[in-house]
Amino acid sequence: AQSVTQLDSHVSVSEGTPVLLRCNYSSSYSPSLFWYVQHPNKGLQLLLKYTSAATLVKGINGFEAEFKKSETSFHLTKPSAHMSDAAEYFCVVSDPPGSGGYNKLIFGAGTRLAVHP
């Protein structure tokens, strides 16, 4: 079965400094991986996705993530944090077509990112 572990429940950075949100996954297949962001009182927005193409994935708002199969990791990074990045971030796994886990997203517990002036 698939699972996702987000290694930090809270991350606090200063504006203009790098962001690193860590995620490890478990899957019996070659999964698809996603990062979603959830701002207060708003729906989930897809930041980026990995679906077995390039291992370095670029997303919206300057975020990127690198798929490392040997480490079963999919960490999210951004070179310079902005105040508007403060939100809850979810790492998500889904198994490929033909597997029992296809079509459903398995979410991690989330990492709350705080950005200080």
Partner: protein, 114 residues
């Protein structure tokens, strides 16, 4: 182009009651998934509807049921409400053939059970 819409925004129910939540998918999307997000947790997959049938289901009891209409909109029904059913219920829609690759989420319905 309207995104995924859900109604109502907020709902308060009493234990033992029944509730129906509604979702309209993004234009052109034919698949609807439902998720439950308890406070401080990540969303959990409830089930997915495609061609008016439940295609896949997560680990939720039979008290949770759903329906998809010919226009692709969907309802989530919860019977015999428990305090633990209090959560944000999220609906997500997908375009044809995309499954989990492209899921667009609505703003959610906040259900409080007292």
């Amino acid at each position: 182009d309207a995104g995924v819409t859900q109604s109502p925004t907020h709902l308060i129910k009493t234990r033992g009651q029944q509730v129906t939540l509604r979702c309209s998918p993004k234009s052109g999307h034919d698949t609807v998934s439902w998720y439950q997000q308890a406070l401080g947790q990540g969303p959990q997959f409830i089930f997915q509807y495609y061609e008016e049938e439940e295609r896949q289901r997560g680990n939720f009891p039979d008290r949770f049921s759903g329906h998809q209409f010919p226009n692709y909109s969907s309802e989530l029904n919860v019977n015999a409400l428990l305090l633990g059913d209090s959560a944000l219920y999220l609906c997500a829609s997908s375009p044809p053939g995309q499954g989990s690759y492209e899921q667009y989420f609505g703003p959610g319905t906040r259900l409080t059970v007292t």
